[in-house]
């Protein structure tokens, strides 16, 4: 606790306290109302049957917007790669006398997001101060939105286990990111201290608050992926959990199945991958179930996910939770959102993941690709992946053509190419094999220049070298032997070396021919074109029959 006013008379202090908390009334009211909570634990512990709990999960997601400048000042927002404290001005440093000015592009981004999430877009909206004292907050408050968010009452649809569910979105509001802290220990005194990098302070941050409509960790993950996908399709956020531009907190509670009242809610933080979100929620469901089974109560608290241990630990109880004393931001008059602007943006909405997936699944004569739901979902996960797919299919059709171009491209993208990308921890945009290169390889495969095994080897070499398919096949000598003159000798040799197989064949055992084809393939180390070999084997065996 800091006692900066210790020397002042207490009357002055009393005035300060009241002035500093203009929302004192509200806070006192909250204090009295805040004691009532609903516990399912009491009922659960007296249940003579094995209690069946239903998880109730809601997510809150913060996404940094991809604007060029910050939310309320014109500092460049590219803080990720910048040296510390070099993307800073008096506004984001919180110096006295400075005033915020709203970035139009950030508002445009959040409206687009709201529209994509079927939200209502407020015509009259405002910003509020969220007060708390922490060194990552330069002004001592964060400019956020309290009771009039720009977007509210939307939804998102997810598919889990073949079931489509509509998950509500309470609100999407605009705020600013905070500075970055690095915790250190003084080697001389052993005392902890922090270093502050202000670069991130003021970067536009969009918070989405989902309704507690999710019922499992799987649904939560699907919801989060669907949301990120939408942001990426809109191009408003990179959605990278690893880089911290996309952060998720989960509120998890349990109740007896069929009950309508909500159980005591636990907030889980510090998850920095989709997998972590999934695991943390699963853990929390287990932990709470076990507690309720023992007849214990769930305490309302904030817990942090510890990745290495795979558990959540208590960070703080809600009793000591922050009281943010929100009040309207005096430095920003209310924001009027012109309905004509919203209508204009609605026209500009790109094709969203949902629609693109449906199009990928539509029949080819309906301008689709006739893909399975599995393939279509996998390929529309990010716009980059879907673009790659469409470009590759286009290149195949323009190039060698052939049947089932979409299916072949999808198979190679989702298996071979995906495994190279995963191994390199890369995304499709990083792939050295471009759509045209993949189409080239598929052309060689369709034309019989290479077999599947050689094509896989060629793709690996293409991925490593970035060279086109034809060059790699040439350099590594992966081309199949299709010259029947060359193969005739090999077939003749196989027949000569395997008299028993020949006898079997002549005795009426047709499958013996397949064995001989296999022998030729083996002798040519798989480079022979199996179709031509089969023809030649049939031809020579046929001659023996007569």
């Amino acid at each position: 606790m800091v006692p900066p006013l210790a020397g002042l008379g207490s009357i002055k202090k009393a005035v300060m306290l009241v002035i500093l908390t203009p929302w004192t009334y509200q806070w006192i009211a909250n204090l009295h109302a805040g004691v009532a909570s609903v516990f399912v634990g009491d009922t659960a512990s007296y249940n003579p049957y094995m209690p069946d709990y239903e998880p109730v999960i809601g997510l809150e997601v913060h996404a940094q917007l991809r604007t060029r400048s910050k939310m309320f000042c014109s500092c460049p927002a590219d803080y990720q790669a910048a040296p510390p404290n070099t993307r800073v001005c008096p506004v984001c440093l919180g110096l006295p006398g400075t005033l915020p000015v709203i970035n139009r592009e950030a508002i445009r981004s959040i409206i687009m997001t709201g529209l994509a999430l079927h939200c209502e877009i407020a015509q009259e909206t405002k910003f509020d101060r969220k007060n708390y004292a922490y060194p990552d907050l330069m002004k001592g408050y964060q400019i956020s939105q309290y009771d009039l968010p720009i977007c509210h009452d939307g939804y998102l649809e997810i598919d889990v286990d073949g079931e489509r569910r509509r998950i509500g979105i309470e609100r999407v509001h605009m705020e600013e990111d905070v500075a970055k802290l690095f915790h250190r220990t003084d080697p001389a005194t052993g005392e902890g201290y922090s270093l502050v990098d202000v670069n991130r302070s003021g970067v536009p941050l969009m918070e989405m608050v989902g309704r507690p409509d999710l019922r499992s960790a799987e649904e939560a993950r699907a919801y989060l992926i669907a949301y990120r996908s939408i942001l990426q399709y809109l191009g408003v956020s990179t959605g990278s959990m690893e880089e911290g531009s996309f952060r998720c907190d989960a509120n998890v509670s349990l109740r007896l199945r069929g009950a309508s009242a909500l159980g005591t809610k636990v907030e889980v933080k510090n998850m920095n991958s989709f997998r972590a979100v999934y695991r943390a929620i699963l853990f929390e469901i287990e932990r709470q179930s076990a507690k309720l089974d023992r007849g214990e109560r769930i305490s309302m608290e904030t817990r942090g996910w510890v990745e290495e241990k795979g558990i959540t630990v208590s960070l703080r109880s809600k009793e000591e939770a922050n009281d943010y004393r929100y009040f309207p931001e005096p430095d920003l008059p209310p924001l009027h959102v012109e309905p004509s602007w919203v209508a204009e943006l609605e026209e500009l909405l790109p094709e969203l993941p949902e629609a693109r997936r449906a199009r990928f699944m539509a029949a080819e004569d309906a301008k689709g690709y006739g893909l399975s739901e599995y393939d279509a979902s996998g390929l529309t996960d990010t716009p980059a992946l879907a673009d790659y797919f469409e470009e590759a299919v286009g290149a195949v059709r323009e190039g060698h053509g052939g049947d089932e171009a979409p299916k072949r491209v999808a198979n190679w993208m989702l298996s071979e190419l995906a495994s190279h990308l995963n191994a390199a921890n890369a995304v499709i945009d990083d792939s050295p094999v471009r759509p045209g290169d993949l189409a080239g390889l598929l052309g060689l495969l369709a034309g019989g220049t290479v077999g599947t095994t050689q094509a896989k080897a060629a793709l690996e070499a293409m991925y490593e070298s970035g060279k086109p398919a034809a060059q790699v096949v040439e350099e590594l000598g992966l081309a199949q032997v299709t010259d029947s003159g060359e193969l005739t000798g090999a077939v003749r040799q196989a027949i000569a070396e395997n008299p028993s197989a020949v006898a079997d064949f002549l005795g009426g055992k047709e499958t013996a021919a397949k064995f001989l084809v296999g022998q030729v393939m083996k002798a040519t180390r798989g480079k022979a074109n199996p179709g031509i070999v089969a023809e030649l084997v049939a031809e020579q065996l046929g001659a023996l029959k007569q």
Binding site: L20, T86, E124, Y134, P328
Partner: protein, 94 residues
């Protein structure tokens, strides 16, 4: 106004108060709150909520054009404590 409420407000404002001061503040803060509470008597049911002191004014927006930020030395020139290119502050645990 309870002692607990006074302490809580003090904590939120980062103001240190002794037990004696809490007792004194209880009375004084209650008086201040009572003073301001005359506003509660006004019937505001027919009045649109006001988001800002200046009525009928809306905020403007700026284009998303970055401008040159401050130099590092200027940024850190008023830092009470500096370490390398960072501000150094006392550890504050949540």
């Amino acid at each position: 106004m309870s002692a607990e409420e006074v302490r809580r407000v003090a904590t939120l404002c980062h103001v240190g108060v002794s037990d004696d001061e809490v007792e004194q503040l209880r009375g004084e803060m209650a008086k201040l709150v009572a003073e301001v509470s005359v506003l509660q008597a006004i019937d505001t049911s027919a009045i649109e909520p006001t988001g800002h002191a200046v009525e009928g004014v809306h905020t403007v927006m700026r284009d998303d054009e970055p401008i040159e930020p401050m130099g590092l030395e200027d940024v850190l020139s008023n830092a009470p404590l500096r370490e390398g290119d960072y501000f150094r502050v006392r550890a504050v645990m949540e």
